[in-house]
């Protein structure tokens, strides 16, 4: 029995979800379930509706058709830009979701301290966001997302703007935090290797309209390395499939 099947209950369920912007059909009858504690990567060419899918799940936008069920669970979303607020310190940024939830000051301070510890930025609480590097800011954004205490963490190309070395280390970090915090993650990326490196499953979307065309289970033992032959091998296979899909739009 695989690890996948042991995990019980789905936390996100999409059934034939469609989304159109006026005439443009961005998502077409997308069906997808994400299980409790699962790490699912969404892969697809540019403009295929990955970000749209996340904003639907996050409830930032309404669906046009089908059913979307998150069971009323709390959802948090991280972007490619850390988008930290410059008028707040690192600590203030992480405390903000707690503040909005009405958590008391001492409790919130302690929780922020914990969260910054989790992303290994314990010593940077009093810094301003602009004093940090891109990778560090993204970790603060992760801590802020964790502070929302959400059941589902959505990530939209969170490491897209980082250099390879930093990204590599952040993969290890994200994997560790996912495991330790028992998160459910839906992770959007352009990078096939990244998807294989991180995901329990890699879901391939077609372009215009966006549909689910493949659902690859990734069963290589963790911890994985992005440059390991298993990851590279499976990534190559998925890349071929993705290229075939892109080529379909040639005419």
């Amino acid at each position: 029995m695989s690890l996948l099947q042991q995990k019980t209950g789905s936390v996100v369920r999409l059934e034939n979800v469609s989304k159109s912007y006026g005439d443009l059909l961005a998502l077409d009858r997308v069906s997808l379930t994400v299980g409790q504690g699962e790490f699912v990567c969404l892969l697809g060419a540019s403009g295929c509706g990955k970000s749209t899918l996340l904003s639907l799940v996050a409830g930032l936008d309404g669906i046009t058709g089908g059913t979307l069920d998150t069971g009323g669970r709390k959802v948090s979303l991280m972007f490619q830009e850390a988008a930290l607020f410059p008028w707040l310190s690192v600590r203030g940024n992480v405390e903000l979701p707690l503040r909005l939830q009405g958590v008391s000051r001492p409790e919130r301070r302690q929780r922020a301290e914990e969260l910054l510890g989790i992303v290994r930025l314990g010593g940077f609480a009093d810094k301003r966001p602009h004093e940090l590097s891109g990778g560090m800011r993204q970790r603060v954004a992760l801590a802020r997302a964790l502070a929302q205490n959400a059941d589902i963490l959505l990530m939209d190309e969170p490491f897209g703007a980082l250099d390879a070395m930093t990204r590599d280390i952040l993969h290890d970090e994200l994997e560790r935090i996912w495991r330790e915090q028992q998160l459910t993650v839906l992770f959007v990326t352009h990078n096939v290797r990244e998807a294989v490196r991180l995901g329990d499953r890699v879901i391939l979307l077609s372009s215009r309209p966006g549909r689910v065309i493949e659902d690859y289970p990734i069963t290589h033992e963790r911890p994985r390395r992005i440059d390991s032959p298993e990851v590279a091998g499976q990534a190559a296979e998925i890349t071929d499939r993705l290229r075939a899909e892109v080529a379909r739009h040639a005419h």
Partner: protein, 311 residues
């Protein structure tokens, strides 16, 4: 390590097992934590040495000192050229001697007090009114269509044009002066706030949405702080307008008993005391510059905190 589902290509390449190189582990040190910490340390720029305080002050003051010196020199040369008689255009030495005498009198400081009280009351009133109008306009679309362009129009209006009406409405009183000062400054304050609110970056708004900010909380934690830089430039511009309006007002609207700087300047002119007139010009200039320095300091402090300064 067994691979349950080896992919086609991995199989072809005949790779197996764990390719992870063994890491030499020191007891008690988490190698991953060390990696992360090391990367963070490398990515943070070393703190730049700003140099000695005295040197920095000198660097920022010498151009100003030079500018003043040039102006004084041109002035002195004009005096030497006898373009105008000496009692109409006195030399810098005469003026600065007079200035020294004037600012040591209590009377002068009473005048400064009257003028600054007016300036601050008018400005504060303008800030309150401008902020309320700005907030309303940015909130309600119909109001924006109606008032938005009117505000910009008001800004271009020379404030001296308001005085005849102000005098008819309020006679020669403090209210007449305040009326014009507020009209001069409030549109800038309102505009600063409106454009601040309009140009809150989209990504921040999205973050606010994700964090579930709504209604008052959204204003308190996102919109208002995000529009602060624009609001401060609005305040700065508003101050400049109110200061100009006030000086025009003090020359036109002579309120009995209030010996403001403007009134004193008028008196000096009535006595044909050019030197004293120039003294008051210098005083008004210096006050303007000092307040501008304060606004710039606030602006720079904010920019530094936000990381918007390039140096």
């Amino acid at each position: 390590m067994p691979i349950k589902y080896p992919s086609a290509r991995a199989g072809l390449e005949g790779v197996n097992g764990d390719s992870t190189a063994p890491v030499a582990e020191k007891p008690g040190v988490d190698p991953e934590a060390a990696e992360v910490a090391g990367l963070d340390a490398l990515e943070l720029q070393p703190r730049k040495d700003k140099g000695a305080l005295g040197k920095r002050i000198w660097k920022s003051t010498w151009p100003k000192v030079l500018a003043i010196a040039i102006v004084l020199l041109i002035w002195q040369i004009t005096v030497w050229s006898e373009w105008k008689p000496i009692y109409v255009l006195p030399s810098p030495t005469t003026v600065f001697t007079d200035l020294g005498n004037v600012i040591t009198t209590g009377d002068f400081w009473d005048g400064v007090r009257v003028t600054m009280t007016r300036a601050f009351t008018g400005f504060l009133l303008a800030v309150v009114i401008g902020t309320i109008i700005g907030a309303l306009v940015s909130q309600f679309a119909p109001l924006r269509a109606a008032i938005g362009s009117l505000i910009t129009g008001l800004q271009t209006m020379p404030s001296i044009m308001w005085f005849p009406l102000a005098i008819l409405l309020f006679q020669l009183s403090e209210s007449a002066i305040l009326f014009v000062v507020v009209l001069g400054a409030a549109p800038s304050v309102a505009n600063g706030l409106i454009s601040g609110i309009d140009y809150v970056p989209r990504t921040w708004l999205r973050v606010g949405q994700v964090l579930g900010m709504r209604g008052f909380a959204k204003y308190r934690h996102l919109i208002l702080p995000a529009s602060l830089p624009s609001f401060i430039s609005g305040l700065k511009q508003g101050w400049a307008f109110s200061w100009r309006s006030l000086m025009a007002g003090e020359l036109l609207v002579i309120v009995p008993g209030a010996l403001s700087i403007g009134v004193r300047m008028q008196q000096a002119r009535d006595l044909s005391d050019s030197s004293l007139v120039i003294c008051y010009i210098i005083v008004v200039l210096i006050i303007g510059i000092l307040i501008d320095v304060l606004f710039n300091a606030a602006d720079n402090a904010l920019r530094r905190r936000w990381g918007l300064l390039s140096n």
